[in-house]
Amino acid sequence: MKRTLPEFGVLLPGIAGLIVLTVYLALLLQVESQTEIAALLVIAVVAALAATRFGVMPRIGRSFREFEGPFSLAIACAVLVMVAYFHEDHFILLLIATVIIYIIVTLGLNIQFGFVGMLNFAGAAFFGVGCYTAAVLTKNTPLPHLLILVIGGLMAAFIGSLLILPVLRTRGHYSAVITIAFGLLFKIFLEVNDVLGGPQGLHVDGMNVLGWEFNKNIEIGDDLEISFYVNYIIVGLLVLGLSFTLVRRLERSWIGLNLDAIRLDETAAACFGLNLIRWKVTAFTVGNFLIGMAGALYAMMVGFIAPTNFTFGDSLIMVSIVLLGGIGNPWGLVVATIILVIVPEKLQAIQEYRFLLFATMVMLMLLFRPEGLLPRPLRTYFPAWKPR
């Protein structure tokens, strides 16, 4: 294929944006002085505002839209470069892995809330279902661990559909109320259930794929030791890649259209033959599958899980990521997850107040930019396709 100059013009803003962002994130992760971190954050806000003001953002957006495949790979490479740079720093690598896992979770929530319009306030609980499934299965069965990831997802999907089926005949937000109840119940259930460790929680075996022990540092030669978190980052990136592709294909198909139509007007959708229950269950189930799978991976990575990991507050953070990022836009989720996971960890001054801060951010967002940081663009079924 002949590369022409205009195409390069489309590519350039994306490449530049990616490099700047990678360097910036590496810097943010490395710096430890609180004033320097605060300064970096201020710079980011100013730069983002300036970029919006001078129309740089739409150009970067266009690069990403028209070359989404190559850019997704480039981002994965950028993550690997960052990982190589921080190869022995456990804390930073854990943060990166957590961001990756959280993006998978919010991709799931996005199918539910962003596409079909069902609010799920039990994100942390479905995540927990995946975690506990992994804990029980790694301890008691010889099942291959990659399969356990899938089973974790299936469990969350199964419990989710069981929960939601009875209320789907009703209209409005009954399903959201049910998820709140389930989220609260799940934590209490874990606390009183001795088989699942009660309030003390459970140990989870580390991942082991074909004899490759994930929880051991990788030693290359005598003096190069790479943190074991790198294993999880690699698997996380693979799962994320698959999840992202799934969400994209879903959106760019008739199913994505059905989900949008139902969110926007149930009565009209029903008048054109759409089976509301079928599509709601589909979206809810697929979303919970991703959340549960992410949970199973997370449990194996951290090695220990307890009911306090799965509170209603955690579910709210997950929902606020979706609201902040741009409802329905997977790239918005990536940006919002990075902000909401990394910033409180780095800036210790706000750790205690993070709920207050998140709540304020979401409220300001809904007031002044309800479409989110990166608004969802119109559906293109095949981005490069032009009508004849």
């Binding site: 294909r249 199913i255 259209l257 926007l264 054109f272 119109l378 009508p387």
Partner: protein
Amino acid sequence: MNAESHLLVARELTKRFGGLVAIDALSLEVRRNEILGLIGPNGSGKTTFFNVITGIYASDSGETVFDGNDISNLPAQAVYRAGIARTFQRSRLSLPLSIFDNIMVGNHMHLDQGLWFNLGRRGAFKRQFEEQFERARELIKIFDPPLADRMFEAVGGFPMIDRRRIEICRALISQPKLLLLDEPSAGMTHEETTQLMNDILEVKERVTDLTVIIIEHEMGVIERITNDCVVLNFGRKICQGSYQEVAADMQVQEAYLGIK
């Protein structure tokens, strides 16, 4: 009165909302390939009749036979599959979606809805997408050729007349046997209404085997495009006939103008 000549037969349809009888033992026959005007003052049950036929409301008694099949109280989805499509009084397009997306919502039964087809077989999906894109474009060209080049723009950015056209396209794309138009002229100027009626007449000419029921307040429109009229008042049919016959009827004048 045989089933051959009548596409839709409603018998003694009744719909109550609490104490209010919205339609009251309404019987109505619609001949194939005609345009039937449904007129009557506000609150006379016209839209309720549409909502009962299309399965949005369940009727309290009575039955509806469409194309020889009993469709009384079927869910909206089944009514659509049987071949009835509609527009709404207050336009119910999905404004954030593109023209193409909106039309494709109406095309639901011609699209492959399988999970694997949509997610796994992108090549096959693309062929169907291109095929349906051409269909949608041909259809919208009948209404307004420039719209065919703007298929991937959000509907929210278009003026009311274009939205009505898109809404009618959404109903027509499934090739229904019966099209229900609920006050297509609402919110439009006189000139726009005239244009839209030209469009509807043109579609009617091009599409064989299409029957239309139109709810309308503008008598000019009714006079121009309908073959037959039914007048409702307080949920009852008070008169049926050609526009001239209906307009001359005393009861109608009474309902509309309050003349005794």
